[in-house]
Subunit: 270 residues, 2 copies
């Protein structure tokens, strides 16, 4: 088990994700990853340096910005240090014709400020409009996810709100909706905002069994029927659809923001 250290003066989430992506190229190795965030003083860096020094052949990934801290780690780790700033900064300086200024943390991921309030507002909206609880106000939604129960609507909505500040509502297709060739009344005026989620019926059954014990809700024939009807509805009304079976919430959200919401028809209607 090889010890892998992730060092950051901020959350370290980006450095960890980069390290995991790089290490995924060596699937035969077994890793134990330790993230050490918020290393914002020489004393904290020294403490982690002590932990690193005790390991036999560790790998160390760093997004530390402070030059003194990075020098200390380079001396300690040599080739075993992967310093994300050191590698790229000189080339960026050459291309941009400016000296880099060490700026710690804060520009990573969700931390883009200013958008904070927008995200909280989006989250409020998405929670109120979860699971078809409130179907008014869809005119204020950026997107309305549609699908059968347990097809992945709720986590995707919350992710879209938290990370992208999107007011994402979701509407569960119940039997009555699935028996009709028409869109449910609440959805019909908002067809251009709809995104369908679908899922493999066997996987759907597995998830439903984990939730409730048994009954028709978790019967395979029921899951097959619901998915078939939902997919037919999406096709009939030309609703863009994502199969959530094998992909993560992050990936579903990325498909929605980068492919579906970017389409011209969306721009027209916003």
């Amino acid at each position: 088990m090889r010890r892998v250290f992730i060092l950051s003066d901020h959350t370290g989430l980006t450095a960890e994700a980069m390290a995991r992506a790089l290490l995924a190229q060596f699937p035969e190795e077994a890793y134990e990853i330790q993230r050490h965030p918020f290393l914002d003083s020489a004393a904290k860096v020294e403490e982690v340096a002590g932990l690193i020094a005790r390991e036999e052949a560790p790998l160390v990934f760093s997004s530390l910005v402070d030059p003194a801290a990075r020098k200390r780690l380079r001396e300690l780790c040599g080739e075993r240090l992967f310093d994300f700033f050191e590698t790229y900064t000189p080339r960026l300086e050459a291309l941009l014709g400016r000296k880099a200024r060490p700026v710690t943390g804060s520009l990573h991921g969700i931390a883009n400020h200013g958008l904070y309030q927008e995200r909280i507002r989006a989250l409020d909206f998405s929670m109120v409009h979860d699971d078809g609880a409130v179907t008014r106000n869809y005119e204020n939604a950026d997107v309305v996810l549609v699908g059968v129960s347990r097809s992945g609507k709720t986590p995707t909505c919350l992710y879209l709100a938290l990370h992208h500040g999107l007011q994402a509502a979701n509407y569960p297709l119940v039997e009555e909706d699935l028996e009709s060739p028409e869109l449910p009344t609440a959805l019909a005026p908002h067809r251009h905002k709809l995104v369908g989620l679908t899922i493999d019926p066997v996987q759907l059954q597995r998830i439903r069994i984990q939730r409730r014990s048994s009954g028709r809700y978790a019967a395979l024939e029921q899951c097959q029927w619901e998915v078939r009807q939902a997919e037919a509805l999406f096709r009939r009304h030309r609703i863009p659809t994502i199969d959530t079976t094998a992909i993560s919430i992050e990936e579903i959200a990325a498909h929605i923001t980068s492919e579906i919401l970017e389409r011209p028809r969306r721009r027209d209607s916003s």
Copy 2:
């Protein structure tokens, strides 16, 4: 406005976060960042190459894994291509004594599979236990966030569930709780799981005004009193506390997972 391209065969979120962190060192520059995710075919890569070729002095950050795609981009962009895999992979190969295998996507961030179901379960728990709606089952919580209304509990809980699979409940301190020196009855048996959130009263007032129009709820004196009482309660019962005023949800969550939940007292109690 300098055009920055982020290319990925997966979501591209990690590559974008890395690029933003690197570019933050050059705050005088203005950027327009375009993320192009899911470039999983030569045709898609070629389409983006066409966009890049039209720009004057673009910067291109890539986490593409496919060697042919990377070669194409290197020829097109030269020094302007920042290829995250190219840079580190040879050194990792030398250190690990193995050849890298090109593995596309899927090991980034939330996409760590197997944990998926755990995250969905955690999200269910966190939504049911939001805002003190249900105070039973705290024995099944990994963490219970405590704070006055609008101190950041809900988004933090949902983030902890979505990203870390933690069953995170939250309990809002209401006036009755704030007037007593004792912990609320629902919380007392779970003191070791509590994390207090606090916030600058002026910021709290600003947030509350944005929510509801006016009234005592959003009066500055009321906000000051609530925060003072809450902080006194946290101190009295030695509840670890995070000030959410100037930090993002991501950062609050990172403090909770890496500092508070890692403490020995937590291990004892789990």
